[in-house]
Amino acid sequence: NAGVTQTPKFRILKIGQSMTLQCTQDMNHNYMYWYRQDPGMGLKLIYYSVGAGITDKGEVPNGYNVSRSTTEDFPLRLELAAPSQTSVYFCASSYYQGLTEAFFGQGTRLTVV
């Protein structure tokens, strides 16, 4: 049972480049989330989805886009990368909205230079 799988684990981007962070889960969870964690800070919600075809903004959505075409996959797109997007990104999924017993991926460490 793989749980939540994120790729890549590490990435260095140049300012202005774009990339997609992949996230897939095999637990048939309806709810999926993207968080970022900056040094010394808690997890901030970027975007979330309550099911295939439905997404909504979280606390810090600017500079990001998401899509949810299937239950399993929830990719996060960065357009025009900026140094402020240097962070560790976590994807998570849960059965309930409140993230009770949520499962997180291992994270993607992104550096924008």
């Binding site: 808690g42 993230l99 499962f103 991926g105």
Partner: protein, 113 residues
């Protein structure tokens, strides 16, 4: 405006002793609280939760206490083990978990052998 506060960035205890991690919240609508543990280079994992209808929840060595009047909760780990060394995040949600989670900044616990 930080709704969930973990005022101690770090805590160091001796193996076998009690670890007490504290968390304060400001939003009186929060009614469900969770603790997550995070090891380096891994995603957070769910540890224990408590509903506002309770003031204590216990799971093995881990106990969470909730003081609603003080808007304060604490996580007790007894006895502490070196493997408990991790960052602990406090999180809160409203409406029984139907609202999105709000995370604190985390407390890094180090348990010394």
């Amino acid at each position: 405006d930080q709704q969930v506060k973990q005022n101690s960035p770090s805590l160091s205890v001796q193996e076998g002793r009690i670890s007490i991690l504290n968390c304060d919240y400001t939003n009186s609508m929060f009614d469900y609280f969770l603790w997550y543990k995070k090891y380096p280079a891994e995603g957070p994992t769910f540890l224990i939760s408590i509903s506002s209808i309770k003031d204590k929840n216990e799971d093995g060595r881990f106990t969470v206490f909730l003081n609603k009047s003080a808007k304060h909760l604490s996580l007790h780990i007894v006895p502490s083990q070196p493997g408990d060394s991790a960052v602990y995040f406090c999180a809160a949600t409203a409406q029984g978990g139907s609202e999105k989670l709000v995370f604190g900044k985390g407390t890094k616990l180090t348990v010394n052998p």
